[in-house]
């Protein structure tokens, strides 16, 4: 689990920040670096001693944290209820996969229709492919922003959902680019713990920085009241587009990581189910909180693995229990409905975990002990 700081923005003009934060900035930064060191140590330990299954779960957690944190940027922070991250994920995964496959492998994969020319010859290294996957996805988000942000609220949800469905239709039919329903197979498994967690930490840091900048404050202003924000001189369209494009960049890169983790991608993988899972993560974690998105993603990914037994046959005390597929999704949807009905702010609400908060928590415990004694 990553823990991070509330180091405020660099501008020293922010004199209205509580004094506490300013004096502890160096301490917080050092603590964050220590936490990163602990994480790196743990990853080294996991990489060396833990089995393939655990490593795979850790990889999934990192990718889902990356996805949930960037999804939370557009849905929670900017308040634009997008339902299209599966489209971005698909674009990123296909772009990265097409860039890393060698021309020979592409020739063997595209058996129905050959791959179109420039793509069939290009082959590049994994990191370059990831960055280009992010950039391509961000560019597509930029194009989508023009129609998408002409509507608001639930209409926006439906339009983005429509784009998600259309991406799947395109992936199935553009056989000269995507190989149609067969998908792309036998990608090199470049993705490992260092790539996933590195990208994950980078995403969290970038998104936090963005949220704490003036752009982030503008996003929150647009979320609370778009008309009022515009009256204050904020260009709402530009701010929403910024959130959308940045979130798409990271989702595209995460798509590339995912593709090279599971090594086989096909259009059916990027269905609305993916978006639903991400939505459940950020809602359960607390819509609008980065810490919440991280907790939600880790909890549901790990919990999903723990609950795997519900879908597999087991025999317990002589009773044979036939696994039931779909059980996990039933539990997740009940969780989502339950959170919406009874605890709408989720685990974190809109709060963040901070070093100050952690210290304050322990200080309170000790103080209470002393008064009791």
């Amino acid at each position: 689990m990553t823990v991070f700081t509330t180091s405020p923005t660099q501008s020293s003009a922010n004199t209205d920040e509580p004094v506490m934060f300013r004096t502890h900035r160096t301490r917080d930064r050092i603590l964050s670096l220590c936490a990163l060191g602990v994480l790196a140590g743990f990853l080294w330990y996991a990489d060396t001693y833990l089995g393939d299954y655990t490593v795979r779960i850790l990889n999934n957690i990192a990718i889902f944290i990356m996805l949930a944190v960037s999804y939370n940027l557009i849905n929670g922070v900017a308040g634009q209820f997008s339902l299209g991250p599966n489209a971005f994920l698909a674009v990123g995964a296909y772009t990265a996969a097409l860039l890393t496959l060698s021309p020979d492998e592409k020739l063997q994969t595209f058996i129905i229709d050959p791959l179109i020319w420039p793509l069939s010859e290009i082959s590049m290294s994994f990191p370059a492919a990831l960055i280009i996957a992010g950039l391509v996805t961000a560019f597509i988000a930029l194009l989508m922003a023009i129609p998408v942000f002409r509507v608001r609220g639930d209409y926006l949800a439906i339009v983005t959902l429509g784009f998600g469905e259309m991406t799947q239709v395109l992936a199935n039919n553009l056989t000269t680019v995507t190989n149609g329903p067969l998908g792309l197979k036998s990608l090199t498994p470049y993705t490992n713990l260092w790539w996933t967690w590195g990208a994950c930490v980078l995403t969290v840091v970038c998104v936090l920085r963005l949220i704490r900048s003036s752009y982030g404050r503008a996003m929150k202003a647009v979320r609370e009241d778009e008309t009022a924000a515009e009256a204050m001189g904020i260009n709402a369209f530009r701010i929403k587009t910024l959130a959308f494009v940045v979130s798409a960049f990271f989702q595209g890169a995460a798509g590339g990581l995912l593709a090279h983790l599971i090594t086989t991608i096909s259009p059916s993988l990027f269905s609305f189910m993916f978006t639903f899972n991400l939505l459940a993560m950020i809602v359960i974690g607390g819509l609008g909180s980065v810490s919440g998105a991280i907790i939600g993603a880790a909890l549901l990914t790990w919990g999903g693995e723990l609950l795997r037994f519900t879908e597999e046959p087991i025999s317990l005390f002589g009773y044979y229990y036939e696994g039931i597929p779909g059980m996990r999704m039933v539990i997740f949807s009940l969780l989502l409905i339950g959170v919406m009905l009874f605890a709408r702010s989720g685990i974190m609400g809109r709060n963040e975990i901070t070093w100050e908060g952690i210290f304050g928590f322990f200080r309170n415990i000790f103080r209470r002990r002393r008064t009791i004694a």
């Binding site: 209820f81 209409y155 429509g162 784009f163 469905e165 939505l279 039933v330 949807s333 989502l336």
Partner: protein, 295 residues
């Protein structure tokens, strides 16, 4: 490519359009009253299909009784979903209710998968609905005629209920201004429940007819019809019942016609609806017959 071919395709398109229209009315009525996209509406179609299937195959209920029971049960389920999942969120941001609706939709689909299993089941179509009619070189299956007829009757009934009865008047009033109507002493929750019941009953009728046309019952069968019916509702102008009917027919016709005229584009059939949706929202967000709804 002659007149006969075009007419034949038009019959197919109208049949599909009728089914979209039946489902779209439920969407549009609930949206009109609550400003909520009831994501679970498409899944009610799936649930109704299972009700009818189990009624006929497992409990050996004669099909007219099974169909009637299905409509009533689905209407009750619609009320139950509203009371359980949406009513507690009436005064919270609209997005909360939308998220809950998505949750309910996934719950219904996956409950179907857990309880009944994912293998598609063949719907036991009664003999009355089988066979085809040859009319001047155009083949019209009996079920198509039934779909057209039943849809016409149901639309008429629906229009009568909305325009001529007290509860219909209350529905129209609630869609204008819920709070004021409540102050006037109308039991708003009863009106909303009735709206859900009516919409779900129409979805059940659509579900039964859908299954007789495409006789494979499976837990995710409601997703695509549901989404397309929503597009039909937006196309006709969300909140407007005649608009939903017209939108459904137009969407069905255009889907079938585009594939008939350009067969090489058949893979993109599912994208037609969403393209229409995006174009409509960009050019005329109120749809064909809709008017600006107070939000």
């Amino acid at each position: 490519m002659d007149a006969q071919f075009i007419t034949q395709q038009a019959v197919f398109g109208l049949t599909l359009g009728c089914l979209y229209a039946l489902i779209a009315i439920g969407y549009t009525m609930v949206y009109g009253v609550l400003r909520l996209i009831n994501f679970a509406h498409g899944d009610l179609l799936m649930v109704s299909a299972y009700f009818a299937f189990f009624g006929i195959v497992i409990f050996h209920v004669p099909w007219p009784a099974a169909f009637l029971g299905t409509v009533l049960l689905t209407a009750a389920l619609g009320i139950l979903i509203d009371r359980g999942a949406y009513k507690p969120l009436r005064n919270s941001p609209r997005i909360s209710a939308l998220i809950t609706a998505i949750g309910v939709s996934f719950l219904l689909e996956n409950l179907g998968l857990v309880v009944i299993g994912g293998r598609p089941k063949t719907f036991p179509t009664p003999e009355l609905f089988e066979g085809t009619l040859l009319l001047g070189g155009i083949r019209i299956s009996n079920i198509s005629m039934w779909i057209l007829g039943v849809t016409a009757v149901l639309l008429l009934l629906c229009a009568l209920v909305i325009n001529k009865t007290r509860i219909g008047m209350a529905m129209r009033a609630v869609s204008r201004d819920l709070d004021t109507v409540r102050l006037m002493g109308v039991d708003v929750n009863r009106v909303i429940s009735f709206t859900f019941a009516l919409g779900s009953a129409l979805a059940a009728a659509g579900g039964i007819l859908w299954c007789m046309k495409y006789p494979a019952v499976e837990p995710f069968m409601g997703v695509i019809p549901g989404l397309k019916a929503f597009v039909a509702a937006v196309l006709g102008g969300i909140g407007s019942v005649p608009g939903a009917a017209i939108g459904g027919l137009l969407l069905g016709l255009s889907e079938v016609m585009i594939v008939a005229l350009w067969p090489e584009w058949s893979g993109y059939r599912d994208a037609v609806a969403f393209t229409i949706l995006i174009v409509i929202l960009l050019t005329k967000p109120t749809g064909l017959l809709g008017e600006e709804l107070p939000s």
